[in-house]
Symmetry: C2
Subunit: 346 residues, 2 copies
Amino acid sequence: MPELRQDPVTKKWVVIAIERSKRPFDFPVRQENIKGGNCPFCVGNEDKTPPEIMAFREEGTEPDTPGWWVRVVPNKFPALDPKLNEAPEQNFYLKMPGAGVHEVLIESPDHDSSLDKHSSHQVREIFKAWRARYQALINREPLKYVQIFKNEGSIAGASLSHPHSQLIATPLVPPVIAEELKGTQEYYGDKGKCLYCDMISQELREKARIAVENDDFLSFCPFASRFPFETWIMPKWHQPGFEMIDDGMLSSLSEIVQKTVQKITGTLNNPPYNIVLHAAPAGYNDVAFYHWHLEILPRLTIVAGFEWGTGIIINPTPPEAAAEYLRNYDNEKNAEKERLSWQQIH
Amino acid sequence: MPELRQDPVTKKWVVIAIERSKRPFDFPVRQENIKGGNCPFCVGNEDKTPPEIMAFREEGTEPDTPGWWVRVVPNKFPALDPKLNEAPEQNFYLKMPGAGVHEVLIESPDHDSSLDKHSSHQVREIFKAWRARYQALINREPLKYVQIFKNEGSIAGASLSHPHSQLIATPLVPPVIAEELKGTQEYYGDKGKCLYCDMISQELREKARIAVENDDFLSFCPFASRFPFETWIMPKWHQPGFEMIDDGMLSSLSEIVQKTVQKITGTLNNPPYNIVLHAAPAGYNDVAFYHWHLEILPRLTIVAGFEWGTGIIINPTPPEAAAEYLRNYDNEKNAEKERLSWQQIH
């Protein structure tokens, strides 16, 4: 049974995921590029996952059979478990049952595709699935937060290479989000404005850190980037919760995410990366001070002793330099090159 | 010139280390096992580093020549630079010059030795050098904190394999330490006691998480371990600042660190790891609520999208299980085995 344990000093929680328990000789976890019919996320292997929660599939096809193009299933080795509802336990230390939800969003039936290569329609369908699962869980008790994320490449934490993202819903507001709420609430108290809205105005004024832009979103390398080529994608209009995004904005989001990811994978030669949703917790979806966004974190540097000791991250690439590389990357030309080499192989 | 930039939302600082600047094709940094006379930390190559700051060396030998057994030099590519003293700059964002100190402590003249293999005398000499540099810098303006750390293995961030640790002194109290001060100060306000002292009593009562123990120190896997086999080494007696450690305790510390590291490297087959000092910032060395300690962080798991998004870390190994493995590891027997195979090679 997974446990949530609190550090008595920092008050931070960790998940002790006993279901995923590792003995000394079980390390390290490497990315398994399981193919040849053995990948549990491939078409035809629907019985290798727990029964599907939802899928976008051809009319008339049965759940857990082929015919889908996006499929959501429970994680087979969940970090948190929805069945738990015991009370917290405190002696000197505080712990509580790891109650929560852990799902996998299989992003494509094609084992070898990826976010930069999918059709634009497929990318929209992926984000539709993100929104559907987000909406289904954000107000469900005892959940307080829904974290959707994507790990691309083994260095970024992917244990299977078939394109997928994940959702973990937690029974508490995570510390990163609590910190963001605190910072933006203080700013709102001071200035009566959303700090993220002001950040967008500042980025549009300075221009130096912008990577891509469309009608609804700005994609930029943040001023205090922790990672080389870190890129945030933020709605230009105030919107606290991800559940509020409508179909028009969802199309816009799909377009800018794919363009940004193409620029990053093209410029950096398919680096490992994480994509992380930051959105308002349950009950905060109409606040004036928070603003949802996506963070793309290329994993080219190593978080080492100094960073763990201090919480200060060393980034060798100024965001202004990164943004310039990304702006100068020509998506059209490279898509054409990519298409031609694809035709040669197939 | 390195810059410190503040995230306007979380108020966290990052170092934009322009001296270490990376273009897209400079990634990733891999561990270079430079040998054959080219390792800048090897004996005879003293001219490949900046001039030494201090060394423990044979009487009569000159600085920057052979004859040393521990040698401290400035980092050739410093993340922070002591010469900077410009004022902070604020428009919408806040930045300040990256003023600070970055040193390398070369732990042995022997390229192939390591913390688990050094003689116990050598380990004591390393910690003497840690203390000497710590004492020299902790009260120097404008420094507020001295972070000593060790990265072992490329996955843990070591870019050179010759045994070494590093010191980075910062012009601000880092967020991790600020958080620890806040948590321990609150506890002290509540209970009138040091939280870390109480943690030691609790661990001695429960016993399940203890790895090793000697007269002055406890080595244990913390209740809310973030990493499999994470181990903290803490003085049994209240002591806020690392500069206060006397020769007797320094011997005790060397002994328990080496024993713990031997258990970790033996049990986990030479895993990458970080060792991180947590100690009171400048001006806090006599407070009743803080307590210095070392954290050993084996790097067997990957910090992925969920962790970056939430700040909640998933650890698949319960600390009680890890501690049991470490306790059961027989240092004596394995040292004997190690000694025999070493004789076979040489």
